[in-house]
């Protein structure tokens, strides 16, 4: 049985629609990450699950109960906020124990559970402090403890790590992952940081403009992006996208000098149509200029990343990134060739942006150029 079922959920503020019918099933114990650019409605969706925001249309079910009209406290969700939202006048122990106090848990048991929770989030030494006397990471832990102590069915996180510095963020990420393994509660985690999404999620939900673009495991989303938006949004550097058309030989034509043979046969209906071809920077290679089958390019600039480097090349105005793991033998201004393996290309409809999957189903046609 699924823990959370979202059916055709919509949200509009006055006349302004911000979530346009979202469908999503979340299994019990699953860690779901909602990923999307700023303003795409991630927080709004999360807050509708929490009950902090009214639902304009559709249904939300939690644990088999329709919760559309239910108060937040009846839904059994705990939430961790971006700014932590700790009660400034209460000590850490009081902050963590507040939900239990409201629920009428006797003091002795409350203390016991607060102590146990503090141990889980590593705050035993700080129980008597006020939030103002804690560091960002410690406040984050208090917020986490406050959610854990109630043993909720569902954890909701709204960009809880975005106020931390890079190093702490990585540490807290690992900690959240560990906590999830240990508690096993269904979790919904909102972020616009794709590394966070990739490392944390069992499944990712990529949102854009109030709609879901793709739902899948991190590997699926990375390897088979369902739309051009996902292809562009997930992955760093983002996927190279080129607009062109397919000729009758099954070759993608960007311009006269740049043609990429496609694997397998192409649906005849696609011939002559505009499509977007995508190649990950990691999938392309750089070769000497003029190598047969390579696309001519000039080196624009080189981004040094320590472990590797990203060479940004230029296709007469279109920038194309190539990631290299070995030292670059090129310099800015050099003319080079970009080699693309047909097996690594992704095709999207230029109009709708949807992935075109009909490749490689028919026997290959000999390529002529």
């Amino acid at each position: 049985m699924s823990s959370i079922a979202i059916k055709g959920v919509k949200k509009a503020y006055a006349k302004n629609a911000v979530v346009h019918g979202v469908d999503l099933e979340i299994a019990t114990g699953e860690f779901i990450v909602i990923l999307g650019p700023s303003g795409c409605g991630k927080s709004t969706l999360l807050r509708m699950i929490a009950g902090l925001e009214d639902i304009s249309g559709g249904e939300i079910w939690i644990d088999g109960k329709l919760v559309n009209k239910m108060e937040p406290r009846a839904r059994g969700c705990a939430m961790v906020f971006q700014n932590y939202a700790l009660y400034p006048h209460m000590t850490v122990a009081e902050n963590i124990g507040y939900a239990l106090k409201v629920a009428g848990v006797p003091k002795a048991e409350r203390m016991k559970r607060v102590a146990a929770t503090a141990k889980v989030v590593g705050l035993e030494a700080f129980l008597d402090r006020r939030p103002a006397a804690l560091s960002g990471g410690q406040r984050q832990r208090v917020a986490m403890g406050r959610a854990i102590v109630r043993e909720p069915k569902v954890f909701l996180f709204d960009e809880p790590l975005s106020n931390l510095d890079a190093k702490l963020r990585v540490a807290m990420r690992a900690e959240i992952r560990r906590l999830h393994r240990r508690l096993g509660a269904t979790s919904v985690f909102v972020t616009h940081d794709q590394t966070e999404a990739m490392t944390l999620g069992d499944r990712l939900v990529v949102m854009n403009g109030g709609r879901i673009e793709q739902v899948g495991t991190p590997a699926e989303v990375y390897n088979r992006p369902a739309t051009r938006f996902v292809a562009n949004f997930v992955g760093s550097p983002s996927m190279n996208l080129m607009e062109g058309s397919i000729d009758r030989h099954g070759v993608f034509v960007y311009d006269e000098q740049r043609r990429i043979p496609l694997p397998g046969a192409i649906d005849a209906r696609l011939v002559g149509h505009k499509v977007t071809l995508g190649v990950r920077a990691e999938a392309a290679r750089l070769v000497a200029a003029g190598t047969p089958g390579s696309l001519p390019a000039t080196v624009d600039f080189i981004e040094e990343l320590g472990a590797g480097r990203v060479v940004h090349t230029d296709f007469d105005g279109l920038s194309f990134a190539v990631a290299l793991s070995d030292p670059a033998a090129f310099e800015t201004g050099d003319t080079v060739g970009v080699m693309i393996d047909p097996a690594d290309v992704h095709l999207f409809s230029a109009e709708s942006g949807a992935r075109i999957n009909a490749l490689a189903q028919l026997p290959p046609v000999p390529v002529a150029s």
């Binding site: 929490a50 009950g51 902090l52 108060e71 937040p72 406290r73 969700c77 705990a78 939430m79 906020f81 971006q82 700014n83 939202a85 700790l86 009660y87 400034p88 006048h89 507040y98 939900a99 409201v102 629920a103 103002a132 406050r146 109630r150």
Partner: protein, 304 residues
């Protein structure tokens, strides 16, 4: 920042010092006059060297103006007004800021408008209402014809009456119901992050719990500031208490001062009048001194 030079500093100091003298001089005169005997206080110019009659004068003023009873009344009056204001305005602001109900903005503006109608402006109608607090309802019944209807049907004449003259209720209530505090609280609530309310909601607390457990403790500096201002303000009220209390049992200290001021043909014992003044102005001074640390913090509410 203005450039700081020794000359500029000196000018500042001098101006401030003159200001201080201007403010303090009346107090000094009161204090000195309260220590003189009747002859010394009436010599022109009055000697600024303190005399030795302070305690005699204080005692005389205390007895003559029945200050024991009147100070008690004043404390009761000012304390209740201040406390009532804190309670009322914190709750009114809570409703306006945290609840979306129909007519919310109308309510807000109604409260806002009362700011422009201080008690002094509407003192006659307010007195009429205090004389019979149910008069407005009676008027509504009369105008709508319900009085007439009831009379024709049952033969009974509806006559609502609840007089508040010469009572603590009448003294206090009209001063509690004003808007200043509501605004101070509204401003404060607007600075409380929304997420705090949401976190409390997620923790399962309802509105009352949120108010008591979170807003109330957070607004403590505000509360103290408002209480202090309102205490001093109501302690110094003159017109309203004078109007509504004719029974000396309900008189307050400030209005009592006029019994100490020598009449035209009486003994010009200004020393006793000044001693009385000294006693009467002491309590607000003490309250301000005791509360000033929190008081300042409440007015500068940006501090987190």
């Amino acid at each position: 920042m203005v450039e700081r030079t020794p000359i500029f500093n000196a000018i500042c100091q001098i101006v401030l010092f003159i200001g201080l003298l201007t403010v303090l001089l009346p107090f000094v005169i009161v204090i000195v006059a309260a220590t003189h005997d009747i002859r010394a206080v009436n010599t022109v110019p009055m000697s600024m060297v303190p005399g030795s009659e302070l305690f005699t004068n204080l005692h005389e003023a205390w007895v003559r103006a029945d200050l024991g009873r009147k100070l008690l009344n004043s404390f009761l009056f000012a304390g209740t007004v201040a406390a009532g204001k804190v309670l009322l305005s914190s709750m009114a602001a809570f409703a306006i800021v945290y609840f979306r109900f129909p007519g919310r903005m109308l309510m807000f503006w109604l409260i806002f408008i009362t700011l422009m109608l201080p008690l002094e402006v509407r003192i006659v109608p307010t007195y009429a209402v205090a004389a019979n607090a149910l008069a407005p309802f009676q008027a509504i019944l009369n105008i709508t014809g319900i009085t007439w209807l009831i009379q024709t049907v049952s033969g009974l004449q509806v006559k609502l009456e609840w007089g508040l003259l010469n009572s603590y209720t009448g003294l206090i209530l009209p001063l509690v119901a004003t808007a200043t505090g509501t605004f101070l609280y509204r401003q404060f609530y607007l600075t409380v992050p929304d997420e705090l309310a949401e976190a409390a909601k997620m923790d399962g607390s309802g509105p009352v719990r949120f108010f008591v457990d979170i807003l109330f403790p957070l607004s403590k500096p505000n509360m103290i500031a408002l209480f202090t201002i309102m205490f001093v303000w109501s302690w110094n009220q003159y017109l309203w208490p004078m109007l509504i209390t004719t029974d000396p049992n309900f008189g307050i200290a400030v209005t009592q001062l006029k019994h100490l001021i020598p009449s035209e043909f009486g003994l010009p014992d200004w020393n006793v009048a000044m001693a009385g003044t000294l006693i009467i102005m002491a309590p607000p001074l003490i309250v301000v001194i005791l509360m000033q640390r929190w008081f300042v913090r409440g007015l500068i509410s940006t501090e987190k």
